[in-house]
Amino acid sequence: MNGSNQHTADQVIQASDLSVGYHGHLNVLSNLSYEWKGPGIHLIIGENGSGKSTLIRTLAGLQSPMAGLVKWNGEDVALISSPRRVSNMAFVQSIPPRQSELTVSEALALHEPNQNKVDDLLDAFNLGEMHMKSLCDLSDGLAQRVMLVRAILQDTPWILLDEPTAFFDVKSRQVMWSQLSALVAKGRHVMVSSHDYHLLEGNPDLMSVTAIGADGLEALDPAGSFESWNASI
């Protein structure tokens, strides 16, 4: 979908004086200024209810900020046209679709008409037998794998995953990380939100770790242990 040079170039997501939340409610997080830059895995960790999902959706341009700006490569996300957003950013929600009757093939064909390419990726995620099944007939774990495959097929420089492992068994997690590693090796940018911060400790693909704490965002050493953050809350 995109030129490969766009993928290898460093991409930046910036939050400037960003407040996130929902209209009619208190801001979930306020006055955040931060920058996520370069290929690799960017991990955002925080406890349940800390605002991870709200933050990552806002960074993905899927929810309007309450105040401040989200910028992709210096451009205000609100001003980027829908087709350009789609070619820049793929997003996987924390909950898989439970209502969609689309078959796996039909859902994936929305991004990639080439069936062979789709089949290869389905096989990698052990979904080879599933392509005539409806999404709503799959278990949450299987449906979430399909959504991950969908996001990869969207073929964007950034993939943002909100709590991607919640429904995954051990094997699915391993498959996911190895697929994400492969993407990182191709120069892609991956952002993952999770409360399960041990998940990626010591992962060589980690580019940044951001913890959501009482005082806003805190940068942790991606090569270090995240225990110190754990102790501080």
Partner: protein, 342 residues
């Protein structure tokens, strides 16, 4: 929630999409011809010439003013209501949504009652405008409150309550109405394809064709929408535009069809389910053409029930036939689907 259409129609599932489309076309053609030939005055191929010969004026009147408009209207209404049901089921992520379930048909009915029973209307154009406005108002109301509801049942209960309220207002209007206006309205309320003229059937057909093309142009967005609001947005769906187009489309379909045929039950709700029985495809690129065809087919079958079942000359009311056909189908869908998941 389970897809739940199972393997009942294995033969059809094994059939190519184009095969099913071809069969549906053929069935529509055969049923249409049968409707054109048989009625209270029978025309058959052999006597057609002599019949036209002996009283050409009567034959032409029967053909062009009674049978042809009725067949065209049945096809347009079936296709249009089917599409309108499919659009609503997709938008609300709710398999039991449909224009009559969610009060859209009642909205149109209430508006027609208002103009007919107060003596302002009765004409086709006035009724159509009133019905369209009524269905759009009901749609806007349903759409407005739908974001506040979680779960499948709440929206349906809202539709039920809306139906009660609009029904109550209609009975108030009826109680106040003059006798001939009342009679006109009661017949309209039973539903019929038989009141259409060549002009009204033609206009509704044109609107239905436009609406089907409009729906088809949205097929990718509709597919994306099934995966949920956030995911759809991330895939480039502009939801407010999609919503506006779907309101325009479903309101236009339900309004214009209801104005001419009366509040037609079950076609909008049941047609998409029958389609999903017949084909394993779930992309709107496939569902939209099939829903239009199967809807038309269902309407023509039901109209045979209307013509054929009567003890008296008039036959059974359309809504009675459709309810007897449609209700068991919906109950069957309920049994097959596992609602505990949602």
């Amino acid at each position: 929630m389970f897809n739940g259409y199972g393997t009942v129609f294995q033969v059809a599932n094994g059939m190519k999409y184009s095969g099913i489309i071809g069969l549906a076309f053929a069935a529509i053609l055969i049923l249409s011809i049968s409707h054109l030939l048989w009625g209270s005055t029978t025309m058959d191929w052999g006597s057609l010439g002599s019949w036209f010969g002996s009283s050409p004026e009567l034959a032409a009147t029967v053909f062009f003013e009674v049978r042809l408009p009725r067949v065209l209207m049945a096809i347009a209404a079936g296709a249009g209501l089917g599409i309108s049901g499919l659009m609503m089921q997709t938008w609300f992520h709710n398999p039991l949504a449909g224009p009559s379930v969610l009060g859209v048909t009642s909205g149109a009915g209430m508006a027609v009652a208002l103009v007919v029973l107060t003596g302002m209307g009765g004409g086709w154009l006035v009724n159509s405008i009133a019905a369209s406005v009524g269905s759009w108002l009901a749609l806007a109301l349903v759409w407005g409150v739908s974001t506040r509801f979680r779960g499948l049942a709440s929206l349906l209960i809202f539709g039920l309550m809306l139906n009660y309220v609009l029904g109550a207002l209609v009975t108030v209007l009826q109680a106040e109405a003059k006798e001939n206006a009342l009679q006109q309205f009661v017949f309209w309320g039973m539903g019929t394809f038989g009141q259409a003229t060549l002009l009204t059937a033609g206009v509704v057909m044109l609107l239905v064709v436009i609406a089907i093309f409009m729906a088809f142009s949205l097929h990718q967005n509709l597919d994306k929408w099934t995966m949920g609001e956030i995911t759809a947005r991330s895939m480039g769906v502009d939801e407010s535009r999609l919503r506006q187009l779907l309101i325009l489309l479903t309101g236009l379909l339900a309004g214009s069809i209801t104005a001419v045929c009366g509040p037609v039950a079950f076609l909008g709700l049941a047609t998409p389910h029958l389609v999903k029985l017949l084909t394993p495809h779930r992309s709107h690129r496939r569902l939209i053409p099939m829903t239009a065809l199967i809807g038309a087919l269902l309407a023509l079958v039901a109209d045979w029930g209307v013509k054929g079942l009567g003890v008296f000359e008039g036959g059974w009311p359309l809504n009675a036939v459709l309810s007897l056909l449609g209700a068991p189908m919906v109950i069957w869908v309920l049994i097959k689907r596992n609602f505990t998941h949602s």
